[in-house]
Amino acid sequence: MAVRSDPTRPALGRPPSPRGGGSARVLPGLIPGLVALAFIALLIGGAFVGLLVEAARNPAGAVSAFDTYLLRIAGFTLWQAALSTVLSVAPAIVVARALSRHPRFPGRAALLRLFSLPLALPAVVAALGMLALYGRAGFLAPLLGWFAGGDWPGIYGLSGILAAHVFFNLPLASRLLLEALDAVPDDRWRLASQLGMGPRAAFNLVEWPAIRVALPGAAGLIFMLCVASFTVVLMLGGGPGATTLEVAIYQALRFDFDPARAVALTLAQLVLTVAVIAMLARIGADPAREPNIAVSRRRFVAASTGETAANAAIILLAALFVAGPLAATVAAGLGADLTRLAGEASVQRAAVTSLALAALSAALAVTLTLALVLARAALEAARRRGADRSWLEFASDTGAGFVLVVPPVVIGAGWFILLRTIADVFVLAPVMVVTVNAVMAMPFVLRAVRPAHDAASARYDRLAEQLGITGWNRFRLVDLPPLRRPLATGLAFAMALSLGDLGVIALYGSDAVQTLPYLLLQRMGSYRTQDAAGLALFLGLLCLGLMLLADRLGRRASR
């Protein structure tokens, strides 16, 4: 603002090192981040090494992987992921903005919790939930058929893939962007209301800049999720015309047992995704951070009646879109013999196992994220304005997110090969589940936490430096407290994600880790559809419970 127009005044968020530019002083905040990066690199690299050891027996598969089939499915993979990302993120901007304009209305907190539920559902459950509404035999089929002028053909094909991806990712994007909007300095809001800015001007001058900062990250995250989509793509895709690289990797590793080909395809997936994300990052270059934040958190927004009505409609539409398939899932679940299910020892065991694994994964994910966020901030602080970001800084932010496009089945198989000779793989199964889920959840936590961290550090860096608050004291007294709420959001996301996942352990043998989603698929695989529906309901409830807990933790901590 006034300060920023003063060119000689350095932005507060970038205190240069006192030694000037490129001194060789080791940044203390960097060490946990380096450990976290090493941990992630070890997890992914180890898996590759494992597969390559095996692939050495028959390396030909790696070369044969690159054919026209690969070209075609790579094209489709990127195309559907790009479309899904646009369709998820664009409406999410509107939804997040509407939610941010109305920080208090009945049901808002419940809605935000609802928004993290889709992530907790196994893809097949979510897909069936979507179909219960929009499918051929769906609840809305007669209406849709009437519009279409004939029998409703369902949403199979690209439209089905997109609809399901939006169902998963619109709520995610909305929450991430809302988190970014919440980090907007109140001075900005105050200024906006002082100047009598209308909604459009406030959007252009206050909200959009904040969203723009968070947009590349959120869009990148969603893009990667959609690249790695598997069940949804096959189940709703309508035929092999809709094939993603993930399908080919799965096929290479399972049916063909060709580790060389699996590694080659995974690398192809990784490289393509990196290329797209790099382009994305170029378009939405990070603008400078905000130097000013007032200490009080008050909102000075008075939306007009017209705008309130529009926002209400937007929020209601988004809520219906997300709640519809969830309601269908609940309705199906209520048809199951819930008391019998709840009484079954295996279900109770699975619930406990799920909770324990999700809690551990989430804790690890949050720890990794904090380490990375702090490391990135330390690196950015050490860099002179205008200098290019180092690869390390990139790695500790967007870079770490690329783990999402390494299929869990690849990590699982690679580590299985490495560890089979030195340890009992059954004992390792839970360790693998926790580790892989934590690393896969980390990018979500990162997106939830980073805007708040960066805003807080912009506000406090100089003060802390002046007062000599460093190291652990700085983490404890300065960095952590303003992060409690976003950390709680991140924790909830991580737990939801870990609850629903079961990708890693196919080979390990699941006797050791029978989680709820595992039990669900098992029942579905043996005609027990009703049981499966009931278990999906339990899974949703469990996730909701965790979400409430995380909210409470976040609220208590941030007073």
Partner: protein, 242 residues
């Protein structure tokens, strides 16, 4: 307890931040309040940042007293600083915010707490230890910052437009408080302001910064007087000297 003020010297301190190069060569008298004035973008804040240690000169030296602090970390310099805003940690109460001036790990003894209470009451906030910054007015928040500077008790106090966002009456109060406190402690105060009245009321000396260098300096009375430097008077505008 009186921390004897130390002189602050910028010895041919050069700096460049993308824009035009700056070069400061100036000595601030010990134990008095010096106002630093000048147009927006002239380099006032950069000058304070160089003294505080947030910026490092590309050439030249920074001296506090007789010590060369050119490459000393900000917290190790005998300096306290109060910014225009964001002087307090929003999640810590007033007492803790002051306490950070004593111990950066917030491990406080009873004696420390007594000092905090004393400093708060000295700045007119007796009994407000447990208030969160959000529950304080803008003026009260700056008083907390001042209280922290008191317990830190460093020979040099830097103020970067600390009262810019306060109303006239409140600003007058704060200036008076600053002058009182300085009178008691005798520290060296460097005070960036845009308000000629502030400088007139509190500052013994005045340094005028223009285009990245010191354009003129002298006692406030001389500077504001009819014989003061022309450039400074152009900056002040055509207002008659009282």
């Amino acid at each position: 307890m009186k921390s004897a003020g130390l002189a602050v010297t910028l010895d041919q301190a050069a700096f460049s931040y993308g824009g035009a190069p700056m070069l400061f060569d100036v000595r601030f008298e010990p134990g008095v309040i010096t106002a630093i004035m000048g147009p927006s973008g002239s380099g006032k804040s950069t000058l304070l940042s160089l003294v505080a240690g947030f910026e490092t000169p590309t050439a030249g030296r920074i001296l506090i007293g007789d010590d060369d602090v050119t490459s000393t970390a900000p917290s190790a310099r005998p300096v306290s600083m109060i910014f225009q805003e964001n002087n307090l940690f929003a999640h810590l109460d007033a007492g803790a915010n002051v306490g950070l001036g004593i111990s950066p790990s917030l491990r406080l003894t009873d004696a420390d707490r007594a000092r905090i209470a004393e400093a708060l009451s000295r700045t007119g906030l007796a009994g407000m230890e447990t208030r969160l910054p959000g529950q304080l007015s803008g003026g009260e928040r700056q008083r907390v910052s001042l209280a922290r500077a008191l317990v830190r008790d460093r020979p040099v106090l830097l103020l970067d437009e600390p009262f810019a966002s306060l109303g006239p009456a409140l600003r007058d109060e704060m200036i008076a408080l600053l002058a009182e406190v300085q009178g008691e402690r005798g520290m060296t105060v460097l005070f960036v302001t845009h308000q000629p009245e502030d400088a007139r009321r509190a500052a013994a000396r005045l340094v005028y910064v223009e285009d990245g260098r010191v354009g003129a300096s002298g006692s406030s009375a001389d500077m504001f007087g009819a014989a003061g430097p022309a450039a400074f008077h152009r900056y002040l505008g055509a207002r008659p000297a009282k």
